[in-house]
């Protein structure tokens, strides 16, 4: 099934949680922040949230900035 991750279409397996997507892509979980369909998804809900087709996911981290 297809969802949109950080503005780009991505194919993911069925029954995939947010947590699984992050760990499969080796994202450092510490201080990552996730927005699902425009709403902040708290870290405690990552394991229990199943992604649905056409979901829009933003995965953000901190980079150097002034």
């Amino acid at each position: 099934m297809q969802i949109v991750v950080n503005g780009e279409a991505q194919e993911i397996p069925l029954e995939c949680t947010v947590f699984q997507l992050l760990t499969d892509n080796a994202v450092t979980l510490k201080a990552a922040v996730v927005e699902l369909n425009g709403k902040i998804l708290k870290q405690e809900h990552w394991q229990s949230t199943l992604l649905q087709a056409d979901d829009r996911l933003e995965i953000l981290i901190f980079m150097g900035g002034g």
């Binding site: 080796a26 994202v27 510490k30 922040v33 953000l60 981290i61 900035g65 002034g66």
Partner: protein, 267 residues
């Protein structure tokens, strides 16, 4: 703020912002460094307690990278809202940064102008009003304008951060006179942000009575960033001490430093 100088004790000259007592008046940005590995050394050399960073989409080619891995413990994190073009976007970024566990400080940065990256004071004010209501410690980056600064103060900003020159330009205090007026008229701490390119310019801002300065590009793009961070630390301290000491009067004509009597050739 001139009327408060006399009551400042230089040995206990901390800066109070958002409930934090800051001993360092140098805020440091973490952008543009050649590698993240150098950041801890730079921060240590700078003595800074408040450090800025930016929230961005994760880089899939480098998903482990995160500037927070390089922050010393007890650093106050000051995420910026760079990339925001409107108040709504700035508010969204601030909420995300808070959700990431970065505390409740935020540097509002709302820019539409891509050439000079000058901030939009109107959108900045709207974002400040909203985020103060939500309990954030709000430090707005702004174009130095007294009316806008007053409105930001009324909206509950914790400090005002006027630019000295465009971001990353290293051109120093081009807006010096306008910043001087803000220091004189606004009771909040004035933190000069953007444009400071040399330690002497940081010292100049502090001598004028700025509460602090925020420096990024000048350190990050220096030949030796660690050495430059130390230079800025000393310059900020020197400028602050000069301000507290109360500089002497400026004159057009000379006023001899040595006595004008008792010359050898007399009599």
């Amino acid at each position: 703020m001139n009327d408060t100088i006399q009551s400042v004790n230089p040995s206990d000259d901390s800066l109070l912002i958002g409930g934090a007592n800051l001993h360092s008046r140098l805020f440091v940005g973490t952008g543009k460094f050649s590698s993240h590995e150098i950041v801890p050394q730079v921060l240590e050399a700078s003595g800074s307690q408040v450090v800025t960073m930016a929230l961005r989409r994760v880089d899939w080619k480098n998903p482990q990278e995160n500037i927070l891995n390089y922050m010393p413990p007890n650093t106050i994190l000051l995420p910026n809202t760079s990339g925001a073009r409107t108040a709504e976007e700035a508010v969204r970024i601030a909420r995300l940064a808070q959700a990431a566990g970065c505390g409740n400080w935020v540097k509002i940065e709302v820019v539409q102008d891509q050439r000079y990256l000058l901030p939009d004071n109107w959108e900045t004010l709207r974002a400040t009003e909203q985020l103060v209501k939500e309990g954030f410690v709000v430090l707005p980056y702004m174009s130095p304008d007294l009316g806008a600064a007053r409105r930001l103060q009324d909206a509950g900003a914790s400090a005002i951060m006027p630019l000295g020159a465009p971001i990353g330009s290293n051109r120093g205090l081009q807006t010096k006179e306008l910043i001087r007026i803000l220091i004189e008229e606004i009771s909040l701490p004035i933190i000069v942000d953007a444009g400071i390119g040399r330690p002497s310019e940081a010292a100049e801002a502090m001598e004028m009575g700025a509460a602090a300065v925020l420096v990024n590009t000048a350190i990050a793009t220096a030949g030796d960033p660690v050495f430059m961070a130390q230079a800025f630390r000393l310059a900020v301290t020197a400028g602050r001490m000069g301000y507290l000491a109360g500089p002497g009067e400026r004159r057009i004509e000379a006023a001899a430093s040595s006595p004008l009597t008792g010359f050898l050739q007399e009599g």
